[in-house]
């Protein structure tokens, strides 16, 4: 088979050739079948190109039909008005084609594809790849720029930028650069750059050091030291929040917040540790340990332990509540067992056993009063069992961290020290030192310290 070489202006008919070289301005007037094609000048093939070996374009080549080759190297520019299929592809210049299929491409220049791009092997983009259609590839590394409709790739790593106008499906994904997609479903996800998903994100274990935003996100283990913004619902396995998270609703398993997390709607979580800040409108969690600050519209938990600050605009419900820090509730605090040694301000504190304040919250001053008997409204009150001296209002503070105030305190057993309340109702009630109570209604045992002020006592016998 004879070779074809065009060095100046020239044209040749289509057909079968050996090696074809265009150094000047050359035209092949029909389909070209050849061993190899090298264009150093300007070439135009008025048909399809099929090369058994290499196609190398250092100048400019345009083909009006499809192109198939073993290997394609483009240092100049090539435009194929049809699909391009090859094994090896190296683009240092620019390539434009209708559709592209290659095994292992190396993209340092720019590729623009009108349709789909399918890479059967791994893909590395240092330059630019733009497809109006879909991208499919093996392991994919994007250091340059990629813009596609839908993308389905295996392991995925981006330090450049990638825009997916449709769905992104990937294996383990690492994003140092910028990625945007309408929807994304990936295996493990690590974002130290930026990932913006305008629709839904599904991922395995997810680590966010950079910025991640999505309308809805469902991930497995979640660790955030950067920023995660979910405008809709967030679902996660165990979540560790050192950075910032915001969501409209969130459902997570174990939750640990040492950074900040804000849920404008409902939060549902398993054991929850707050060292940082957590806020939610309605929260239902298993065990809440709050050493930091938590603010809810309403809270339901099985157990609550507060060393920091817990505030609710509504109610707080738990089986057990223990507070060394400070709790405030605009509504009702309800728990089987309430133990508050710190501060509390609430409308109502109700339950089975309530103890607020500690016995030594009043100071022992002197021992001159032996009597623990006095009467209120003509009712004799026996407080003889605690004759260990009289305490003064030594440590009553108001307005400070350890303010203890409620409109109503009501439980089967109530013990109060340094508490202000309008009404206290209980079966058995102990009013220790430092209390100011409007009205105590007690059917069982009542003990009132002399160093407390109780305006009215209602006993069953007094009612008749």
């Amino acid at each position: 088979m004879k070779d074809l070489e065009i060095n100046e202006f020239g044209s040749a008919p289509g057909g079968e050739y050996g090696d074809v070289e265009i150094n000047g301005i050359g035209k092949v007037k029909g389909d070209l079948v050849c061993e190899s094609l090298e264009v150093n000048g300007v070439g135009n093939v008025k048909g399809a190109v099929e090369a058994g070996g290499d196609v190398e374009v250092n100048g400019m080549l345009s083909a009006d039909g499809a192109m198939r080759a073993e290997r394609v190297e483009i240092n100049g520019t090539m435009e194929v008005d049809g699909p391009l299929a090859c094994c090896e592809l190296e683009v240092n210049g620019a390539l434009k084609c209708r559709a592209l299929q290659a095994a292992e491409p190396e993209i340092n220049g720019a590729i623009s594809v009108d349709g789909d791009a399918v890479f059967t092997g791994d893909l590395e983009v240092d330059g630019a790849l733009k497809t109006a259609g879909d991208l499919a590839a093996g392991d994919t590394e994007v250091d340059g720029e990629v813009s596609v409709r839908n993308a389905a790739v295996q392991a995925f790593s981006v330090s450049g930028s990638m825009k997916v106008s449709g769905d992104l499906t990937a294996g383990d994904t690492e994003i140092d650069g910028e990625v945007s997609a309408m929807n994304a479903a990936v295996r493990e996800l690590s974002v130290s750059g930026t990932l913006a998903v305008s629709g839904g994100l599904t991922a395995g274990d997810t680590e966010v050091d950079g910025e991640l935003s999505a309308m809805n996100a469902a991930v497995q283990g979640l660790s955030v030291s950067g920023t995660l913004t979910v405008s809709g619902g967030l679902t996660a396995g165990d979540a560790d929040i050192d950075g910032e998270v915001s969501a409209a609703n969130a459902e997570v398993q174990g939750l640990s917040v040492s950074g900040s997390m804000a849920v404008s709607g409902d939060l549902k979580a398993g054991d929850t540790d707050v060292d940082g800040e957590l806020s939610a409108w309605g929260a239902a969690v298993r065990m809440l340990r709050c050493d930091g600050a938590a603010h809810f519209g309403g809270l339901t938990a099985s157990e609550i332990a507060v060393d920091g600050m817990l505030a609710s605009d509504g109610d707080i419900e738990a089986d057990r509540l223990c507070c060394d820090g400070h709790i405030s509730a605009a509504g009702q605090i309800s728990a089987d067992e309430v133990r508050i040694s710190g501060g509390v301000v609430a409308d109502e504190i109700v339950g089975d056993r309530i103890e607020i304040g500690e016995e030594d919250d009043g100071h022992t001053a002197d021992e001159n009063s032996g009597g623990w008997h006095f009467s209120v409204n003509g009712v004799q009150i026996d407080i003889g069992e605690r004759g260990n001296g009289v305490r003064l209002f030594g440590r009553r503070r108001s307005g400070g961290q350890n303010t203890r105030r409620a409109r109503l305190i009501e439980a089967t057993a109530v013990r109060l020290f340094g508490v202000e309340a309008e009404t206290v109702n209980g079966q058995d009630v102990t009013i220790g030192p430092g209390c100011r109570i409007g009205r105590v209604d007690c059917a069982g045992t009542l003990t009132v310290s002399e160093e407390s002020e109780v305006r009215e006592v209602v006993r069953p016998s007094a009612q008749e």
């Binding site: 009501e410 439980a411 079966q427």
Partner: protein, 212 residues
């Protein structure tokens, strides 16, 4: 509606504050039943007597057999409202046969939601109280179903006569009706209470109760 104060409730039933509030947290006693009224001692809580007393009784009599959350599923109509298959309905005596027949004509071959069953049971109860003639029952059932489209359990069915014609009205639980003087007989049934009664009486029919 008769009210009973919290203190009186505790005295009469022998339950403790702890139990009362535990049951409230478990939604065994609906929050709406805690009615706050100001009194000379400040604020006092009252309960609708006809509702709270049977509720406390049924909790007390079941609490040793079931866990509180199981009880909550059984007593609260909000949790896991059941869908009952048509074939399982034969033994539901709270719904008059004429009412059930009319309902089947309205919705042939379909399953029934707790809401619909409660409505049909409420129709039956109201009709019994008002002595609605048996031949008027199908019409009343059909009217009620037509008024109940997309309704919730937070509603009351009121049945009344205009002249000799019987009518049904479904309205919000917190919107008591005042009729003009031509309407002499009216009877209202809470759908929620009816639903809770159905759930208690027919545990086997409701999925929430499986495995209990």
């Amino acid at each position: 509606m008769g009210l009973i104060s919290k203190k009186e409730l505790l005295q009469r039933t022998g339950i403790s504050y702890g139990q009362l509030y535990r049951w409230k947290r478990e939604r065994l006693i609906p929050e709406e039943w805690f009615i706050k009224r100001s009194s000379f001692t400040g604020q006092e809580t009252f309960f609708p007597e006809e509702q709270i007393l049977p509720r406390v009784e049924s909790i007390l009599s079941n609490k040793d057999r079931y866990s509180l959350s199981e009880l909550s599923r059984m007593l609260s109509a909000d949790i896991a409202p059941g869908i009952v298959e048509e074939t399982a309905l034969s033994g539901m005596e709270e719904i008059a046969p004429e009412v059930m027949e009319a309902a089947r004509r309205e919705k042939p071959g379909e399953d029934w939601s707790l809401f619909e069953l409660s409505l049909l049971a409420a129709v039956t109860e109201a009709a019994t109280r008002l002595c609605v003639a048996p031949q008027d029952l199908p019409e009343l059932a059909a009217l009620s179903l037509s008024a109940a489209e997309g309704g919730t359990l937070d509603a009351v069915l009121t049945v009344f006569f205009v002249g000799d014609a019987v009518h049904a009205l479904i309205h919000g639980a917190n919107a008591p009706l005042t009729f003009d003087r031509t309407i002499r007989t009216a009877y209202s049934v809470s759908l929620r209470e009816t639903a809770e009664m159905l759930k208690m009486n027919h545990r086997a029919l409701f999925p929430a109760l499986k495995g209990v």
